[in-house]
Amino acid sequence: MRIVVASGKGGTGKTLVTASLAQVWDGPVGAVDLDVEEPNLHLFLEPDIWLCEEARMEVPEADESLCTHCRACAEICQFKAISVLGEVLLTFPEMCHGCGGCLAVCPENALKPSSRLLGEICFGRAGDISFLMGRLRVGEAMSPPLIRAVKKAVQNFPPEIRSGDVLFDAPPGVSCPAVNAVMDADAAVLVTEPTPFGFHDLKLAVEAFRPLGCPLGLVINKAGLGNLAVYDFAVAEGLPVLTEIPYDRHIAEAYSQGKTAAQALPEMRALFRELAARVKDLARPAPGERRYA
């Protein structure tokens, strides 16, 4: 099962939840960090990284000697990644979205596929956890191509994980990168906090992810802070509250030391094991009703 942990707002505890779930999961599990702009899952799981490879995407390369400056490529390109200025054919690889349009329309075969660097993809292991992350190179503007590449790289996990359970730590927010991460999941766990910002961004997250069609469940982190609006919303929207993590300074301090809640406090291990069971129920196509907290 593919479970994505997401949230509208950053800093609600997505990584904390993903890491803790991975650590208490019964049996082998995959843990994938899709927050390629700011990956931090590895800081908590501390995997032994056994391979890092470049992630590249296809861009056109021009052979000027064959170019007749007909401008067919510049006309189809929606992204200004290829242009004819005067008598010179110019490509701007960092603007390219990899659509292949210019390659398809060039009548002179003057363009051939080349590649540009997006960042890196790294594989690792932490006990029973198979780990995978992507890291965008600083200055690279687009994260969806790397997010897609990391999702594909899950194919390289050991077979029992590939056909078993994989947890994904999504990027925060609700725009293109987050939606790319949640797409095709079996379930999405939305982590929120019961503060006005958390509640507001949860509403955005539900608006963004509901159309993707997978079951949604809530984890309310820092419960006890803020107010109760989030709970009323959950009931009104039919969103199961899978668990509440109480607001506790000790959890925050443990987190600042790189420890997950599951590592720092014994009662948290039990809470996350319970959460793991409920997450599996959420993802399983069930004929019965959803349970409300």
Binding site: C99, V138, A141, M142, V174, C176, E207, S256
Partner: protein, 303 residues
């Protein structure tokens, strides 16, 4: 006129809460919420919207089912898996459509339209702290930075028209296009960090990005008392890199209490956290005025 941007790399460090407090303390300014993906400033500023506009950017391909002959060419060409077969016609998933126009070009029956994409809205509003320029992208849209750019331009125009001397912006999270768009040409980026592994790790990447785009940077360490050791690590890094530390702020639930009341911390309380925030703002202001004294360049590129 100065432009100050509050960013954080990682989300949840307190960027928006601090920007609201600075908006309360500053004078003669225009406020900008550049986090168009998940904007939150309006929850504290209670904007009275004066003008609202559609934001149109890029295009999406749409198949007319009456003209589609199900030849499958669009499916063959699409590199983004956006085309699906539905019954005996093809359909394009707008969430996956990249707007590249390849299918439009190759469709033999011209069955594919390419309308402009209405991806969000932007607003100019009045608030008790001054004019606020803000926006919202609809969910799933490409957050390319163009909307950020548009908001900044609006803010600049309003500031010039109104004789304001400061643009104060709540920046987007992350390191991608939106942050890049918010950074170029900014006088000072205030980076809000926290003494956690993610906070330390991301601070380095954010500072690198600021340098890449030639913005001066300074740091605020929020929730410093959660981990004094890491705070000192951060401060040592700042000294090495010549980055001013504008404040160390203690972790205080009063931040949330103020938020629940819809108020900036400095409005809500006069306690120690508010005092630290006021001090931070004073330091930021004097950093801006000393930068002004330093850069008295001759105008133009004359030799």
């Amino acid at each position: 006129m100065h432009e100050v941007l509050i960013i954080s790399g990682k989300g949840g460090t307190g960027k928006t809460t601090l920007t609201a407090a600075f908006a309360h303390l500053a004078s003669n300014h225009v406020i900008c919420d550049l986090d168009v993906d998940a904007p939150d400033m309006h929850l504290l500023l209670a904007p009275d919207v004066q003008a609202s506009h559609d934001f149109i950017s890029g295009n999406k391909a749409e198949i007319d089912p009456d003209k589609c002959t199900n030849c499958g060419l669009c499916l063959d060409h699409c590199r983004f898996e956006a085309v699906e077969q539905r019954g005996d016609v093809a359909w394009i998933d707008p969430l996956k459509c990249e707007g590249c126009k390849v299918c439009v070009h190759f469709c033999p029956t011209e069955a594919i339209a390419f309308p402009e994409n209405h991806c969000g809205s932007w607003y100019v509003s009045n608030t008790r702290f001054g004019t606020l320029v803000h926006a919202r992208l609809f969910p799933g849209q490409e957050n390319s930075g163009r909307l950020v750019d548009l908001l900044r331009r609006q803010a600049r125009e309003l500031a010039e028209a109104g004789g304001k001397t400061l643009i104060l912006s709540d920046g987007p999270p992350g390191l991608g296009c939106p942050v890049i768009s918010s950074l170029s040409g900014v006088n000072l980026a205030v980076v809000v960090t926290e003494p956690t592994p993610s906070g330390v790790h991301d601070l380095g990447r954010v500072v690198e990005l600021c340098r890449h785009f030639r913005a001066d940077a300074g740091v605020i360490v929020n929730k410093y008392d959660l981990n004094i050791e890491r705070t000192e690590e951060i401060e040592a890094y700042c000294r090495e890199e010549n980055l001013p530390v504008f404040a160390r702020l203690a972790h205080d639930t009063i931040m949330t209490e103020a938020m629940v009341q819809g108020l900036a911390v400095t409005e809500f309380s006069t306690g120690p956290l508010s005092a630290s925030i006021r001090q931070a703002w004073t330091r930021i202001e004097s950093s801006l005025s000393s930068e002004e004294k330093q850069s008295k360049q001759t105008v133009g590129g004359a030799i």
